[in-house]
């Protein structure tokens, strides 16, 4: 087991190198660079930048050097000093920008996950056990409804209800007075008060699909002979459901952790923009649009690293819960 983990970690190194280079190239691919975008922005407000100034800017940002040199500088900075470079647009170190956003995204994602699983698991199990009952049809109806409604639409509706009916401030994760305030107990309370709207929106679509998956997984397991054996032992229906079929039915969910982590960065961008949440998604989008090279690069690199870590974590977890994988 330990050998497996170490081997997997060693394999991650070449993958990460390849992926980081690819990320850098991809960001460079669109025609023009940050300076082009900057000039275009200035031109929109009737300011003209001459060629010399543009060249000066390029030299200052290091954009005039060959790509390989730029990549080398960037990657050594990250590896040796943890320096992700400077965001052109924000004029701040990338690492400062990213971490606060990532922390908030983590809070949002984890709370969404808890709500989603908390709702979906019991309903999915119920749907499977009471297959084709009235309750199953109701759950099926609502889960298809949840799948069919686009999240951004739901976001708009909930914002309307929260703002007009409940008179609550909507948009963002904090009230105005807390946005730039240092962390305090009051700020946390404020965060929780704002969190419920995005959590509900994101949970609705997640719950819907999860109920379907859970129901299908359980239906596969419920008719297995080992369930009958457990029943013949005299276990109560609830105890045997939890111990046997549910345990096996959960395995496919552990695999989903692999793509849960990268979703931290790139998931639910549209909802985050509609609700103007200070999470990673909108910032990634903005940095890509303005060709803010180092910021975008850091995000793309983060997504790749999280994908690799996510699949490692899910493989380890799978091996831990399923002895068939662990012992073979």
């Amino acid at each position: 087991m330990l050998r497996f983990i170490v081997l997997r970690l060693i394999w991650m190194v070449p993958s990460l190198v390849a992926v980081s280079f690819l990320a850098f190239v991809l960001i460079q691919l669109p025609p023009g660079d940050y300076v082009t975008t900057y000039i275009a922005t200035l031109a929109a407000s009737n300011e003209v930048v001459d060629q010399n100034t543009a060249a000066d800017l390029r030299a200052r940002f290091g954009l005039d050097q060959p790509m390989a040199v730029q990549y080398f500088k960037w990657i050594t900075g990250i590896l040796l000093e943890g320096n992700f470079g400077l965001s052109f647009e924000w004029q701040q170190p990338v690492s400062e920008l990213i971490w606060e956003r990532m922390a908030l995204t983590l809070v949002l994602t984890v709370s969404t996950l808890i709500v989603t699983w908390g709702i979906a698991m019991p309903i999915g199990v119920f749907s499977a056990v009471k297959k084709y009952s009235f309750g199953d049809y109701v759950a099926t109806f609502f889960s298809f409804l949840g799948l069919a409604i686009p999240s951004f639409l739901l976001a708009l509706v909930l914002m309307y209800i929260a703002a007009v009916q409940l008179g609550q401030e909507v948009g963002g994760l904090f009230s105005e007075r807390f946005v730039n305030a240092p962390w305090s107990f009051a700020k946390v309370v404020d965060l929780i008060a704002h969190l419920w709207v995005p959590v509900i929106i994101l949970a609705v679509s997640g719950t819907a699909s999860l109920i379907r998956v859970m129901r299908a997984n359980m239906l596969d397991e419920l008719n297995k002979p080992y369930v009958t054996t457990a029943r013949a032992k005299g276990l109560s229906e609830f105890a045997l459901l939890v111990k046997y079929p549910l345990r096996v039915a959960l395995n496919p969910f552990i695999s989903t952790i692999a793509w849960l982590l990268p979703n931290l960065v790139s998931g639910s961008i549209i909802v985050a923009i509609v609700l103007s949440l200070p999470t990673a998604g909108p910032m990634l989008l903005q940095s890509l649009m303005s060709q803010d090279m180092y910021l975008a690069g850091a995000f793309v690199l983060l997504i790749c690293a999280l994908t690799l870590i996510g699949s490692l974590v899910s493989d380890i977890l799978l091996a831990l819960v399923d002895p068939r994988i662990r012992l073979e």
Binding site: P225, Y226, R231, K233, G234
Partner: protein, 565 residues
């Protein structure tokens, strides 16, 4: 207090049990008015073919019939050692009362020991659960008792076995674990639902031995469900013959076998006894010409799986010959390499060495091991295969006409009206109504599906057919019909068969010569009579003596010959 329980006391008294399954197409009366008594220290065998309702009867007792099954009426009175009694039929399937009976007073073991145990929990965990549930033991005591139970069912190293998972055990060991679990609370009755059907004959003999010994030791009543009349003859005190949910006949084992009253019982025993001797068709036929040149000659065939230190020698230096018009039986237990051997003949696998010389009709000889693609394609028209599973080997989305006609169509031999005529003729040949041509496989019974498979195999007028356990999935009453059909076709078309089976009865019934395989090697070859009646190799002796014979007056598997190779 009452007197101590003694053998012969009635433990379970079932009267007029009726269990229905409400399906979309109407009510299926799976169990239709069944009555029987099970007594302490005695074994009641419920025997019947598939669909007879024997398994549903067993599950009805514990009220664990799968949905939508439901007990409609009848009574099932459980008499406890303390003199009290309870009617299980009146209990709700989820009630506390029935749950306290399950696993504690009446325990059950099932057919497939692999899938009947959870793959993700240790053996110990699953056994301790019963102890803690019914006897309220703490973890330490439950573990100690579990080790003791595993020792009782003769599992080696019980201390370590406790913490292992089911997939680390062989089939026989898993069934021992199931038995240990069932015995955990000293039940007064054990229900065994085809517990040895998935096992090899030698393993089956061991498990039957074990159940018998434990029954004598603890004085349990045993309700044993099986389709195998041989097993019934070996272990039963009383027998209940079921057909379509009804009891056809019941009585002491002696009476069922030697003085059966009912028509169906007689038919059932008759078809079992038929497989105890050579087929009439074969007794009448002229002997195979010994001097005829073999159609297939296998020399030193090797087929290895895996690499390096982890090599499995599935076929290890095997040599065989098949003469024209002859049936060569290959017999062996699971893992003996007999199926791999058969597949090598069609070069489904690429053998690692050796030669398979195939003599064509014009006398030329082709080595199938080294043949190129084009030759192989030709050869596969002349050597065909029939499979074990009549359900899995037919495409459910193709009509019977399409299935049977496919080899003709694919090889460009017939199409259009000619194809239709050929298919109709083939269907008649295997005893199927040509009017059924547009039906899909699910509309046919198991026996009919196997006929479809045979029709498909003979469509290209082959010279050799490899039949891999072709009758194993069929009920015994259909089995001899299928073998008779195959032998008639053989004489009609001049076919040679390679007949792979684990069932000595089937081999004796139809084969001219037999090769016995054990761990990838052929340990003995000879004429069927010689191998079955006067085996020379110890393994063959052990195999033959482990087969239960359908004669309760001649019980012998408990005194069988054991081979430790």
């Amino acid at each position: 207090m009452n007197a101590a329980p003694k053998d012969g006391d009635v433990v379970l008294d079932v009267r007029d049990l009726v269990t229905h399954f409400a399906t979309r197409t109407g009510v299926v009366k799976a169990v239709d008015g069944v009555s029987f008594k099970v007594s302490r220290g005695k074994t009641l065998c419920v025997v019947g073919e598939s669909g007879s309702g024997k398994s549903v009867t067993a599950r009805s007792i514990l009220q664990i019939v799968d949905a939508p099954g439901r007990i409609v009426s009848g009574s099932m009175v459980l008499h406890r050692p303390d003199g009290s009694s309870v009617d299980l039929a009146t209990l709700h399937p989820r009630s506390r009362e029935i749950r306290s009976v399950r696993g504690a007073e009446i325990a059950m073991i099932f057919q497939e020991p692999m899938s009947s145990l959870s793959p993700v929990h240790t053996v110990g965990d699953q056994i301790m659960e019963v102890l803690r549930l019914h006897l309220g033991m703490d973890k330490v005591a439950a573990r100690a008792r579990t080790v003791e139970l595993l020792k009782q069912v003769e599992i080696p190293n019980p201390d370590r076995a406790v913490d292992r998972y089911t997939f680390e055990f062989s089939g026989g060991m898993r069934q021992r674990v199931m038995i240990a679990m069932a015995l955990a609370c000293n039940p007064s009755m054990l229900i065994a639902d085809e517990p040895t059907t998935a096992l090899d004959v030698t393993t089956q003999a061991e498990i039957l031995d074990l159940i018998k010994r434990l029954q004598t030791k603890f004085g349990m009543a045993v309700l044993f469900i099986t389709h195998d009349m041989g097993v019934v003859a070996e272990i039963a005190d009383e027998v209940l013959v079921m057909y379509h949910g009804k009891v056809m006949e019941s009585g002491p084992v002696e009476q069922i076998f030697h003085a059966p009253k009912d028509e169906y019982t007689r038919m059932l025993i008759g078809s079992v006894l038929r497989l105890e001797q050579k087929a009439e068709i074969r007794l009448k036929r002229d002997p195979i010409k010994q001097e005829a040149k073999p159609v297939i000659e296998v020399r030193g065939l090797r087929m290895h799986f895996g690499e390096g230190t982890n090599v499995t020698k599935a076929v290890d230096d095997v040599s065989l010959t098949v003469r024209p018009g002859e049936t060569l039986g290959i017999v062996g237990e699971s893992g003996s390499g007999k199926t791999t051997m058969g597949r090598c003949l069609l070069r489904v696998y690429e053998p690692n060495g050796g030669a398979i010389d195939y003599r064509r009709a014009d006398g030329s000889v082709v080595d199938l091991v080294s043949a190129d693609k084009e030759t192989l394609k030709q050869m596969r028209r002349e050597i065909r295969m029939i499979f074990q599973d009549p359900v899995g080997s037919l495409n459910p989305r193709m009509t019977v006409a399409q299935i049977i006609g496919e080899p003709l169509f694919v090889n460009g031999i017939a199409k259009g009206a000619e194809l239709d005529d050929r298919v109709a003729a083939l269907m008649k040949q295997v005893g199927l109504e040509p009017a059924w041509r547009e039906r899909y496989p699910h509309a046919f019974s198991g026996g009919q599906r196997q006929r479809i498979g045979i029709a498909r195999a003979i469509a290209l007028k082959p010279r050799v057919i490899v039949a891999d356990e072709a009758t194993s999935a069929l009920d015994v009453s259909i089995r001899s019909q299928m073998l008779d059909l195959m032998m008639n076709l053989q004489d009609e078309l001049g076919l040679s068969y390679v007949f792979i089976s684990h069932d000595i009865g089937v081999i004796r019934y139809m084969c001219d010569r037999v090769a016995v395989m054990y761990r990838g090697r052929v340990v003995e070859t000879g004429t069927t009579d010689q191998v079955c009646d006067a085996p020379t190799h110890d393994y063959t002796k052990a195999l033959l003596s482990a087969i239960p014979r359908p004669d309760p007056r001649n019980r012998r598997i408990h005194a069988r010959f054991r081979y430790a190779g």
